[in-house]
């Protein structure tokens, strides 16, 4: 049998993923900082004033990327959950739990920045509209996942229960995405789509994409950092943990 170039299953073991995550996170943190600097520069100094919304529209540069991340992170959690159920790998559950708080944070930020954008433009902080309500449900799904996995003492059983929540809840993600098409809603339609040319100035689009990349890199960095803590917490009695350089005095 030919040897594969990289043995991926090697990294499925917490003992080898712990040092790998430690080597990787600083790179993603550096990329996040660089993208955020470029994105913020474009958001405030390059992108022109909107002819309808004045300067208020600049909230788009974090609102849309935060909303994308909240949906994307949930899909990644569902992916790890499926792997965990299918292959019974320990690391998958740890990855899901490492992502959940960051996903919840982006869901909250999406609602928060949305409220601050809705007030001056629609005259309301909140409306019970399909887009907003389904995003609120997403936040509750994240919080439900965190609460459920925290309530079960055995981490392996907690992973299984959490995996079911994230796999069932992932149905909500396309509902959020298509809500502006399926229902009459106050929320505007997608400004950027796969099939049509974007309906906004190129500089605005670049600002949004750079901020999205910054949030993406940030999420990877913080999840890698958090998964290291989770690995140590769960593998505390393993020999490899006792032999780590940072455990020697």
């Amino acid at each position: 049998m030919s040897q594969p170039l990289i043995n991926w299953f090697k990294f499925a073991s917490p003992a080898s993923f712990y040092p790998l995550a430690g080597k990787l996170w600083p790179w993603f943190a550096a990329l996040a900082t660089a993208f955020a600097a470029a994105g913020l520069w474009i958001s405030f100094f390059v992108a022109p004033t909107d002819f309808q919304q004045g300067e208020g529209y600049r909230i788009i540069f974090i609102h849309v990327p935060a909303s994308w991340m909240s949906m994307f992170i949930y899909c990644v959690m569902a992916f790890w959950s499926a792997i965990g159920i299918g292959f019974n790998t320990r690391l998958s559950g740890m990855m899901s739990s490492a992502l959940a708080p960051t996903g919840a944070l982006f869901a909250f930020l999406s609602l928060w920045t949305g409220a601050l954008w809705g007030k001056p433009m629609w005259g309301a902080w909140w409306v019970w509209d399909a887009r907003l309500t389904s995003e609120l449900i997403l936040l509750f799904l994240y919080l439900g996942y965190i609460a459920l996995t925290a309530a079960i003492d055995d981490p392996r059983r907690a992973d299984k229960a959490g995996a079911i929540v994230s796999l069932v809840g992932v149905i909500n993600v396309p509902i959020i995405y298509f809500s502006v098409k399926w229902w009459n809603t106050l929320h505007q339609g997608a400004s950027v789509s796969m099939t049509k040319a974007p309906t906004m100035a190129a500089t605005m689009l670049w600002g949004m994409l750079l901020m999205a990349l910054a949030f993406w890199m940030y999420s990877i960095a913080v999840a890698l950092y958090r998964v290291r803590a989770i690995i140590l917490e769960r593998e505390r009695h393993a020999t490899w943990v006792a032999e780590l350089p940072e455990m020697q005095r």
Binding site: F44, F45, P48, T49, G54, E55, G56, R58, I59, I62, H63, A66, P101, T102, L105, F108, L109, W112, T113, L116, W117, K119, P120, Y218, V222, Y225, R226, R228, A229, L232, E233, R236, V241, A242, E246, M247, R249
Partner: protein, 60 residues
């Protein structure tokens, strides 16, 4: 360049509260999350070091 002066920049054409409320809370939230994960890994390492030291002592 969109802004004539710093005060114009902070006023955001009258939307200052909404724009800075969005960017400020986002920045604060990401910063707090970063500090919390740093603390979590640090605390876990400290606890495990103490446990391992106690184990070694009880073995001697």
């Amino acid at each position: 360049m969109n802004w004539g002066s710093a005060s114009e920049f902070f006023a955001m054409g009258g939307y200052g509260f909404y724009v800075w409320g969005s960017f400020g809370v986002t920045a604060a939230a990401l910063l707090i999350e970063t500090l919390l994960v740093k603390k979590r890994l640090g605390d876990t390492r400290r606890l495990l070091r103490r446990e391992l030291a106690a184990d070694r002592e009880s073995q001697d």
